[in-house]
């Protein structure tokens, strides 16, 4: 796979640089000050290829804190809110689009036995 640094970057709109945090894999975004944040609102937004390239180059070099840095599209609302630019990024930001599994109501029999044991 071509490294993000070797790819010819084409920007058709605003972008951010995103990755996963090394310690726990959480979705993070590159901030303008060189740090990382889990809040998309705090991400550095690039609107041209040169600044996107610079942002991702610095992010990839920060291998100790984040892994798999890449450029992701975003959209900006009129009041400047940053929103994910596609479904994949929406899911990365907000989590699965489905409810995570929960236990159905246990019958009293199983519940009592389980709790008695534990």
């Amino acid at each position: 796979m071509t490294s993000p640094l070797e790819q010819k970057i084409k920007i058709t709109g605003p972008v951010v640089v995103t990755a996963n945090r090394v310690g726990d894999g959480a979705v993070v975004y590159r901030r303008a000050d060189g740090g990382w944040t889990t809040a998309l609102a705090a991400a550095a937004v690039a609107t041209d290829a040169a600044s996107a390239q610079a942002l991702v180059k610095a992010a990839v070099a920060d291998d100790l804190r984040a892994v798999g840095s890449y450029i992701a599209p975003v959209s900006l609302t009129r009041d400047g809110e940053i929103r994910p630019g596609n479904l994949r990024e929406r899911i990365r930001l907000r989590g699965p689009t489905i409810d995570l599994p929960t236990m159905p109501n246990l019958s009293s029999v199983v519940a009592e036995e389980h709790h008695a044991r534990t």
Binding site: N20, V22, G23, D24, G25, A26, V27, D63, L64, V67, G68, N86, L87, R88, I91, R92, G95, P96, T97, I98, L100, P101, T102, M103, P104, N105, L106, S107, V109, V110, E113, H114, R117, T118
Partner: protein, 552 residues
């Protein structure tokens, strides 16, 4: 159950210690991600959309209650309280933290479990029929042969860096419940004309972007030669398999490009050079492995006890569940019970920690402490006395694993899709959930009969869409989710790849299309007993294509 020995325990414990050191070096910055990635993959650790994912092997789909409770503990302590059973007899945790992975692995290792060979370009965890050892139509327990092969290939230096991953399945029944033909290598125990038991050897199956069914390269292989023949196949693959193009690196491409006959000739040449050497079957070693698989001491019981008939007459829900989820056992008076992990609106294959604990308790009380995991993403209790079925059903029903939809249209195989997976182009789970809602009426699903829907969120085909009676493949078109629909695939002893019915449809129309296909089938079948897959075979794809696209 398989009884682990000191060698197994030491191997797994040493791997945990090694990985703990590797994680520490990664977190300290001593290892870069490029250096660390192959090490984590050797232990089943992936990085997905939201977090790391830990894939843990469930050898031959066999679990003890103690092991299942440990899976529950890991889900609760290190993940978000649930696990996902996959199509290869694994469990995946989707929210694992790298910092905590060594402790999670140590917990798993305490019950003999690990993630070795669940990823990477090695021989992956070998799979079998989830009814191994209890199926009435079985010739021998295939797990013993699978374990023989597993012991030979685990950490084998020659096979640790294959051109690509290598999946082996072993079957032993007339009905294939292990999807043998979609594996890189499949071994099927059967009897030849002289009544001897040996293996049919099939090579070069696989799904993904270039699906192939495995070809038989040796119709009958004597048992004594199984290791040498597997070795010869792996060596041939290692020598000729492509390493220059990841999309052409699987053995299926090699078998296809060389031709099965030419491939088999290469294997035979290699095999004849080694077959009478150290790899010829050692009966004592084999007996030692066989002795590690312990079977319950069954009571002497009669089939169809009167109390079962009374209970069936008294409760139509119980009666419907027995019809659907209970299968014959090779021992009189016992049954194999499938636990559906496909409730209405649920995620196929997911189980909460509390459900795991409850199933473990039930297995202890009703199934000689044993649980099985099948590639259809359901569980089974393999040794249930038939007279216990009414009591067991009430408890399974209470924990949500007694939906009577086994092998029916809502018993959907689904990959995690874009909700979790970094490779996916489209979501799978919400599609499956919507279909289960559309077909929530049990009478409707029963009327449709056996009908398998398989869903994959990308071309890698973890959801086995090519071999679904109805296959659904998620693709991305201009940033939107679209789905290609196939019909006519199947993964059993008459395995077939499904045929595309037409252009991909948008996300919102997939469940409508499935309803259209189901309605067309009901109209087109010759009689109610004609299964969907047989109707497709008889009339082809065209009538379904017409029905689906007539108004689209």
């Amino acid at each position: 159950m398989y009884v682990y020995d000191d060698f197994d325990r030491t191997l797994v414990a040493e791997r945990v210690a090694e990985f703990r050191d590797q994680v520490a070096r990664r977190l300290s910055g001593e290892l870069t991600e490029d250096e660390f990635k192959p090490l984590r993959l050797m232990n089943g650790v992936y990085l997905q959309l939201h977090a790391y994912m830990l894939r843990t092997a469930i050898p031959y789909g066999t679990l003890s209650s103690t092991q299942l409770r440990m899976l529950a503990h890991v889900a609760r302590r290190f993940d978000r309280g649930y696990g996902h059973f996959t199509t290869r007899q694994n469990i995946q945790y989707h929210w694992i933290k790298l910092e905590e992975l060594p402790d999670a692995m140590a917990a798993l290792a305490s019950v003999g479990m690990h993630g070795m060979q669940t990823s990477g370009n090695c021989v992956r965890n070998i799979t079998t029929d989830q009814w191994a050892g209890v199926a009435p139509d079985e010739i021998e327990d295939p797990r013993i042969w699978a374990e023989l092969v597993r012991q030979h290939v685990t950490l084998h230096p020659e096979f640790s860096f294959l051109p690509r991953k290598f999946k082996i399945a072993v079957g032993s029944s007339s009905h294939d419940r292990a999807a043998l033909r979609v594996h890189d290598l499949a071994l099927r125990l059967h009897r030849n004309g002289a009544g001897e038991i040996g293996f049919e050897v099939m090579v070069g199956g696989g799904l993904g972007r270039t699906p192939f069914l495995a070809k038989t390269v040796k119709p009958f292989l004597h048992k004594r030669d199984v290791l040498s023949y597997v070795e010869a196949i792996l060596r041939t693959y290692n020598e000729f398999g492509r390493r220059d193009n990841i999309y052409k690196a699987r053995i299926k491409i090699l078998v296809h490009e060389l031709g099965a006959e030419a491939f088999a000739k290469e294997v035979e040449t290699e095999w004849h050079a080694i077959k009478d050497g150290a790899l010829a079957l050692d009966p004592a070693g084999f007996a030692e492995i066989a002795a590690r698989f312990r079977y319950p001491t069954y009571a002497q019981l009669d089939d169809s006890p009167p109390e079962l008939a009374v209970a069936r007459r008294a409760d139509h829900r119980f009666d419907a569940w027995v019809d659907n989820a209970v299968a014959n056992h090779k021992v009189p008076g016992y049954a194999i019970v499938t636990l559906s992990l496909k409730p209405e609106g649920g995620t196929p294959g997911d189980l909460t920690a509390e459900q795991m604990d409850a199933v473990a308790d039930l297995a202890e009380r009703y199934s000689f402490d044993e649980i099985r995991v099948g590639h259809e993403q359901n569980l089974a209790l393999p040794h249930v006395a038939q007279h216990d079925l009414p009591a067991l059903w009430r408890e399974l029903d209470a924990i949500g694993v007694a939906t009577p939809n086994v092998n029916l249209i809502t018993d959907i195989i689904s990959c995690p899709g874009l909700d979790y997976c970094g490779l996916a182009n489209a979501r799978s789970i919400p599609i499956a959930q919507e279909i289960t809602r559309r077909f929530r009426n049990p009478e409707l699903t029963r009327n449709l009969g056996r009908l398998h829907i398989n869903i994959s969120g990308c071309i890698n085909a973890c959801g086995h869409h090519h071999v679904g009676h109805i296959g659904i493949l998620g693709v991305e078109k201009n940033g939107e989710e679209f789905y290609q629909i196939t019909v006519g695939g199947k993964a059993d002893e008459n395995a077939t790849l499904g045929a595309l019915i037409g252009p991909a449809v948008p996300y919102a129309q997939v469940a409508d299309v499935v309803e259209d296909i189901a309605a067309a089938y009901v109209e087109l079948r010759q009689r109610p007993e004609e299964l969907f897959i047989d109707t497709v075979k008889r009339i082809g794809v065209e009538p379904f294509r017409e029905r689906v696209y007539a108004t689209r």
